[in-house]
């Protein structure tokens, strides 16, 4: 594999809450290859949005990057001065936030907001900015005469298209999209995903798609990074991580997810319990309290095991994953003894 576009090494981000620190991201490592779509998946509180925000260094006031490296184009984004970082935003790294309604300013026309990025960040003059805006609208499938409309005049799906147009404005190398289709209806969701995939392939840009929905990842992504309780449980190609998962958490997620093309009689199996409190996380493996395969050794910090090249798994029993997968497919495995 050629050198990755982005390489995150042992990233740590914590929030100060009163006198406590919540270690929302606690040693995350993964690579983003050039020209790929990577799904960053996990449940609420797993740290996926915090990772995404840390990559652009737009994080909450009480948050800080407390360790690790974010290597992008030969620079460590965790360390470069704010001025240098600011120059990268939009031009090299663009962000599509969760709700386009909240990211677009309701009192300005969409054209004004596009022009703001194009002129201020991209140094274009008025005429060039107008042409580029028209081009961008055409790319995301909106009629250019709607440029002068205000955000409220667009439907939810159209607003998300506008947010994509904004992200593409200056031809970035990396787009980070935080749950870009979560609030949308299933048909519109599919149309937006198709559009995103088409543009990604055509422009060769890399995309990080933050989502809780593994079916969205399965539909559109090439690779996936699965997070649990502030750590990366496993990462790898889509096939490796979803068809044959090697971390018990990923195995459990698959069982819990309904599959419309699967058998009607299929039973959904929950993962009992809840993720740990990140103020004082348990010692050893963080999934241990919910894991049906936990052993005594899981009280200690799990190693990162490469079950295949480019498929690291954070688990003491990663080498037994083929056998565990068979057991994990049975509902009884996940039932808590009464």
């Amino acid at each position: 594999m050629s050198e990755p576009l982005l390489s995150v090494r042992d990233l740590r981000v914590s929030y100060q809450v009163g006198r406590n620190f919540v270690h929302a991201v606690d040693g995350a490592s993964f690579d983003i290859p050039r020209g790929s779509i990577t799904g960053l998946v996990g449940e609420s509180g797993c740290g996926k949005t915090t990772v995404a925000r840390a990559l652009t260094r737009v994080i909450a006031e009480n948050a800080s990057i407390s360790g690790g490296q974010i290597l992008f184009d030969g620079k460590d984004l965790a360390k470069i001065p704010e001025k240098e970082m600011n120059a990268l935003r939009w031009r090299d790294i663009a962000f599509i936030p969760q709700s386009a309604m909240n990211s677009l300013d309701p009192v300005y026309t969409v054209e004004y907001q596009l022009a703001e990025v194009l002129r201020r960040r991209g140094g274009m003059d008025r005429k060039k900015a107008r042409l580029r805006s028209e081009e961008l609208f055409e790319m995301v499938g909106i009629d250019a005469n709607r440029l002068s409309d205000y955000p409220h005049q667009f439907s939810g799906g159209m607003r998300q298209r506008v947010a994509i147009a904004l992200a593409l404005a200056l031809d970035p190398k990396l787009i980070i999209a935080d749950e870009p289709v979560t609030a949308l209806d299933v048909i519109v969701q599919r149309q937006i995903l198709d559009q995103l995939k088409e543009l990604q392939t055509r422009l060769g840009v890399s995309v990080i798609l933050v989502t809780h929905d593994i079916s969205v990842v399965a539909y559109i992504c090439d690779r996936t990074v699965v997070m649990y309780a502030g750590k990366v449980a496993e990462s790898g190609t889509m096939q490796a991580a979803l068809t044959a998962p090697s971390h018990p958490y990923t195995m459990g997620l698959r069982n819990a997810f309904p599959d419309l093309r699967g058998a009607a009689s299929g039973i959904l199996t929950p993962i009992e319990g809840a993720p740990p409190n990140l103020v004082s996380p348990p010692a050893g493996c963080r999934f241990k309290p919910r894991c049906p395969f936990a052993l005594e050794i899981c009280e200690t910090e799990p190693p990162v095991v490469d079950v295949a090249p480019g498929h690291p798994v954070l688990c003491h029993r990663a080498n037994e994953s083929a056998a565990l997968r068979i057991e994990a497919a049975r509902t009884e495995t996940w039932m808590v003894p009464a």
Partner: protein, 334 residues
């Protein structure tokens, strides 16, 4: 036989809920819009008819704004219909008042969408669950027992430990079970669940759905499950009603709808659902771009502006529900 014919027989003992030509129209726009001649009527529910048999689980499926939640609220008399009839157990609910209304309220319950909004954060779980019992005049000495039974029913382990806790001390999954327990504590015959797991994480969702299925089967409940997610509806309901802009597009056994959707809208819905399996291929979407506009629906068939199979008749004439095999479909193709 079309929907109207079936609905005239409200005395059939196996039918618990019978809806005929139900309408819920809102005037929107206010004074300024009226001055500019722009006030409009939004038809949230517009001429909907169906029957629900006792013990049946029916999914109300559709996109936001399709009227599924409005329909659910009409069934529970949380919203007054502006037309049509709704019979519950043989009785028209529109005119029900006083003691009879109180009785209806205990028999027909709502399970709310967001457990964090549905429960008073300053009430303990005991207070939350006592309230419906008080309203139904259940004597005080019986209450604690009923509360424990209800919490056991929704599989909260060691229920007694939860009684004096506050909502913020419970996880989302536990709280949604409390919401379910509150709906079930008066032993209703009929429950309407409005997207009960949409706020929960995937790993927790399956547990709540399993409890819902289990409770329904054990108590023989008649249930409406409102959702935008066909995969979830399929998991819970044997029958599905697909709504679009206030009308029913298709109604039939869920499995038939998933395997071979008939209405062009249902076809698009089924094709759009992503599956959690990377090896599965997806069909292209058979639907035009655009979004439904409840203020300004097209004439004739409300789906025709996005429909790939639309023809002249679709603009001129509202398609009437027709019986096609196991299903009822409102489309001029059939």
């Amino acid at each position: 036989m079309d929907g109207a014919g079936m609905n005239m027989i409200t005395k059939r003992p196996d039918i618990l809920v019978s809806v005929f030509d139900a309408r819920l129209h809102y005037a929107v726009g206010g004074a300024f819009a009226a001055m500019r001649g722009k006030s409009t009527v939004v038809k949230a529910v517009d001429g909907v008819s169906f029957d629900i048999r006792r013990g049946e689980s029916v999914g109300l499926l559709g996109e936001s704004g399709c009227g599924k939640t409005s329909m659910g609220r009409l069934l529970l008399k949380l919203e007054e219909k502006t037309g049509g009839t709704i019979h519950f157990d043989g009785e028209e609910i529109g005119a029900v008042r006083g003691d009879r209304l109180k009785k209806f309220r205990s028999k027909a319950q709502l399970i709310f969408q967001n457990p964090f909004d549905a429960i008073n954060p300053r009430f303990t779980i005991r207070q939350t669950l006592s309230e419906p019992l008080e309203n139904a005049d259940i004597p005080k000495r019986e209450r604690e027992g009923r509360i424990i039974t209800a919490l056991e029913l929704v599989k909260l382990p060691e229920p007694a430990q939860f009684l004096d806790r506050y909502p913020h001390q419970l996880s989302g999954g536990q709280l949604q079970r409390v919401v379910m327990a509150r709906a079930l504590i008066l032993q209703p015959e009929f429950v309407v669940a409005d997207e009960p797991v949409s706020m929960l994480d995937v790993s927790v969702r399956a547990g709540v759905l399993n409890v819902f299925r289990d409770v329904r089967d054990r108590l023989g409940l008649t249930a409406i499950y409102i959702s935008h997610d066909l995969a979830l509806v399929r998991y819970v309901c044997e029958r599905t009603i697909v709504m679009y802009l206030g009308r029913i597009m298709e109604d039939g056994p869920t499995e038939d709808i998933v395997r071979e959707p008939l209405h062009p809208y249902t076809k698009a819905l089924v094709a759009a659902v992503p599956v959690p399996n990377p090896d599965q291929s997806h069909d292209p979407l058979p639907i035009g771009r655009g979004a439904p506009d409840p203020r300004n629906p097209p004439s004739g068939c409300v789906f025709r502006d996005r429909c790939p199979a639309a023809h002249a008749r679709c603009a001129a004439e509202v398609p009437r529900p027709k019986s096609v095999g196991t299903r009822t479909v409102a489309c001029h193709l059939y």
